[in-house]
Structures are given as C-alpha cells and as structure tokens.
C-alpha cells in the first residue's frame, strides 16, 4: 500500500445559503481544494462525493456525475458515497484506499448537503430516515430523541451533569465565533442558557434532558480535499498532510439491541484502528475534531477514543482540558455545534479543519500550538457506523 497525502483542502462558510444550489456549493468547495493543491489544469483520476440526502431534499440523484461534469473533471471516475452523517469520512476513506492501492493518483473528495431549503420538521424527518423503519422511525423518533435517551443513560451511568453539557456548548460556540466557516458565530454564556430566568426561553427543552443549545444547527455547506500518493506531494505547493491512520466500525442498527446502549463500541474500535495504524496512543494526539452533533457526544467520544477514562470526560471540559491550550483541545473549529452539520459535508469538514490546523493556517485565536497529529471522529447513525482518521503534518 502507498502512503496517502492530503495536498489540498477547501471549504465554504456553512450556514443558510439560499442563493446556492447543492451543486454550486459542491463545486465551490471542490475548486478551492483543487486550487489549494495548485492543480491548475492537471487531471483528477477520480471523484468521490459525500452526500446523504439530495435524493430526498433536492429530488436530485447521481450528483457525483453532475459534479464531475460541472468541474470539467471528465472522464474521471465518479461515485456518490452515502453513509448517513458519516458519508464524508466514508468518501475520504474510499479515496484513500483508491490512492493507496495504486489504482488512482489524484482523487478529489467533496462532501456537501443543502438542508435549509426544507422546513425544520422536514429536515428532522429526513435525518430520522436513518433509524430502523419498522421498529424506530414509525414512532416519531428523531436523532435528537435518540441523543436524549442516550444522554439520560450516560448521565446516570457516568455522572455527566447538565453543567458539563452546557460547558461543551459554551466552549464550542466560543470557538465557532472565531471561525469564518462556522454557521453559528455567536458566543454564549452559562447565565444565558442555564442559570438565568431568561434561559428557559433562550434554551428550551428539545429532547429531554437535552436542550436547544445542546444540538448542532441544521446547515448548508460543503468541503473538499484532494488526495495523492505521498511521494507525489512534493510537486504541490502546500505542506502535505499524511493520512497516518484510519478506522471504521459498525454497531447494531437499533439502539434497543445494544447490550449496553452507553457503550459506543464503533467509536472505540474505529479510533483504535486509526491510532494503531498511525502507531500512536490517544495521549500522542495533539487535538481532535469529534462529532458533537449533541454536546453529550463530545464527552462520550472523548472517553471512547481514550483521551479520558469513562466518567472523566465531562469533568475535563469543566477544567478546560479540552479547550484551546488545554491537555487535548477538542473542536477548536467550533465543532458541529457551531460550524454546523450539513450531514454529507461534516466528515470532510472535520478533515479540512485538521489540515488547516496542521498547516498553521487558522490564525492565532484558534491555532493549536505545535500541532503535529490530529484525530477525527465522524459518527454515523446513532453510532452504528463510525469512522476515524489520524492525520499528521509532513515535515518539509
């Protein structure tokens, strides 16, 4: 297998982008990655497009073919990758395997989703279609609902408190306010969302015990990366980032069938595979982008990856260990919580953020000092399909 490098990355600001079609957003992000890599008119061998819902939300299918045409990548191979909210990381993994195998040299991976053109209850219903149709979906369960059930169990078993969840929200929105790509650029306070009488109005219950500010927003957005063999990376202008490790694991579709629903086995396995491949321990990681679609997930994933023991992740947030400058900065991008969660884009956006960090490009307010190894977790379904990457800066 060949070592694979990321030689270009690009994303567009997430948020509500009424003026853009899904294809517009995918094209903008794709061009940014191509330009970032200095590709000029050089050909790309293959295109992978991560998208979960164009068939439902835009009534549009086969979008990889459309994007290959729009970006004049023809006759490059083109595939759409749909793996729920983990589509982005799945598409990158497929691209990495294609380059590592020696079959393709240049692979462009673009992830995107346009969710704001439907009403909130349509968007909620769309995401809920990843639940089991006969034993979950029919009851009106939503992803926030799944997270609500999980949160109550996790609080009872591991001592997570609402104050800890709120601290995740405050930390990530603070970082989002510094990130020009973030959907939510508004810092919040504990008083505003938890302690004051107004907090009842500001932060209403969403899926008990979770509140509005425990959840990521519904967003439009796209991100892209360009892959090639490490030995060819020197031909390109930017510092290369090595895909040092990756992992993927699955778990039961229905939450009810898990022996211990608080045990996110697929997170543990995917991260372990990625770390083992990179020959690293969790303590060797300098920063991480975790899938905080809900605040509880950042805490639970930080424990399942191995950054903290079970029951210690929430305390770590309160103690500032996961803040910029702390022991292991988590979601210095603002995470899904503030950057937004256009589902097909998220896994690619996480990797893009890590690339920007490893290249020292995010500006002093958000930059992780001496960042060499970054880890991502892209959490599909409710933990039934999870991918993790370990990315490493390639020293010149």
């Amino acid at each position: 297998m060949r070592n694979v490098a990321i030689i270009g990355a690009g994303m567009i600001p997430f948020g509500r982008r009424d003026e853009d079609t899904l294809l517009d957003m995918l094209a903008y992000a794709g061009l940014k990655a191509l330009d970032d890599a200095g590709m000029g008119e050089k050909s790309v061998d293959a295109l992978y497009v991560a998208n979960m819902g164009a068939g439902i939300l835009q009534h549009q299918t086969a979008i990889a073919s459309s994007l290959a045409d729009r970006l004049s990548l023809l006759p490059a191979a083109a595939d759409t990758v749909e793996n729920g909210p983990a589509s982005g990381a799945s598409a990158i993994k497929n691209g990495v395997l294609a380059v590592a195998s020696g079959y393709y040299d240049y692979v462009l991976v673009v992830g995107g989703e346009k969710m704001r053109e439907v009403t909130g209850w349509r968007a909620t219903d769309f995401v809920a279609t990843l639940t089991h149709p006969q034993t979950e979906y029919i009851y009106g369960i939503t992803l926030p609902g799944m997270a609500g059930m999980f949160t109550r169990l996790y609080m009872e078993k591991h001592g997570v408190t609402r104050e800890m969840l709120t601290a995740v929200s405050i930390k990530n929105q603070k970082m989002g306010a510094l990130n020009p790509y973030a959907h939510v650029e508004m810092a919040i306070t504990k008083e505003g969302i938890m302690d004051s009488p107004d907090s009842v109005v500001n932060n209403p219950p969403m899926a008990d015990p979770l509140h509005l500010y425990d959840a990521c927003p519904v967003s439009d957005g796209a991100a892209a990366v360009l892959l090639c063999p490490l030995e060819m990376a020197k031909q390109h202008p930017k510092t290369a980032v090595l895909v040092a490790g990756f992992g993927q694991a699955t778990d039961t579709h229905t939450l009810a069938e898990r022996e211990d629903p608080t045990d996110l086995k697929a997170v543990t396995l995917a991260a372990k595979q990625a770390l083992d491949m990179a020959k690293l321990k969790p303590s060797d990681i300098d920063f991480a982008e975790l899938h905080d679609a809900f605040t509880i997930l950042e805490i639970a994933e930080s424990e399942h990856v191995g950054f903290f023991k079970k029951g210690e992740g929430g305390k770590a947030v309160l103690e500032g260990k996961t803040s910029l400058g702390g022991q292991i900065p988590i979601n210095v991008s603002g995470g899904l919580k503030a950057r937004g969660h256009p589902v097909g884009a998220t896994g690619v956006a996480q990797v893009t953020e890590v690339v920007f960090q490893l290249r020292n490009e995010v500006g002093k307010d958000r930059q992780v000092k001496n960042a060499r190894n970054g880890l991502t977790v892209n959490f599909g379904g409710f933990g039934n399909n999870v991918l993790s990457f370990v990315l490493r800066r390639v020293e010149a």
Binding site: T119, W121, R122, I138, G140, G145, M149, M206, D208, A256
Partner: protein, 117 residues
C-alpha cells in the same frame, strides 16, 4: 384491544433474542431462530420527551421509550404520559397496539406503553 403484532426471534443455538429480524444471530451467526412474541408487561429502560417533532406529527410533544418484556424482547414504543417527569427507569409499563402515526390519512400501528401506577 388489538393484539401486539410483533414477532421477535430467539436463536436456537445460543438463545439470544433479536428484534427486529436478522438473517444471522448477532452473537453466534447461526441462521436458525424460534419465533417468539412479547410476553407480559414491560420494564422501561430508556426514554425521552421530544419537542421538535418530525414531519407528520401534529402535537406538542412525543414521549418515546425503549422497554424490555418479560421474555427478553426489547422494543421502542410511544409512552402515554403527560410529562417525562412522570417516568423513571425500571418502572412497569402496560403495552398495547395502537395508532402511532398517521400519514396522508393512513394509520400506522405500533407499540404504545402505558405506565402502571
């Protein structure tokens, strides 16, 4: 009262109870199953009260729970309670089979749990 139309699957080799159906046992990968049906009352394992409802529900909130029947079948259902604060893990629920969703006038039936006080 309508009969609960749920079929669960008990592995003939290792005894693991599955719901929904799997072609191979999640524990031992055997393909031989005995069909079983939820028996007796259920015990509440997990629950939430959802306020942001998906398309197709015209009501203020939904309470959804996962419960375990006396013979080990675990299943999600709607919980009929005025507020999640009325519920506690481990409490007993009486199951029934009732309308859980109406889409374009078409009724979908499923599990509805009533707390036993």
């Amino acid at each position: 009262m309508k009969e609960i139309e749920i079929t669960a699957y008990k592995c003939k080799k290792c005894g693991k109870v599955h719901f929904p159906f799997h072609d191979r046992c999640l524990k031992c990968r055997s393909r031989e199953f005995e069909t079983i049906h939820p028996k007796g009352n259920a015990t509440l394992l997990a629950y939430t009260q959802i306020f942001n409802l998906p398309w197709g529900f015209d009501q203020r909130f939904l309470i959804i729970g996962v419960a375990e029947f006396e013979n080990g079948v675990k299943a999600m259902g709607q919980v009929k309670a005025g507020d999640a604060a009325e519920l506690k893990p481990g409490m007993k629920l009486k199951p029934s089979w009732d309308v859980v969703r109406v889409t374009a006038g078409e009724k979908t039936y499923g599990l509805v749990y009533q707390p036993i006080k």
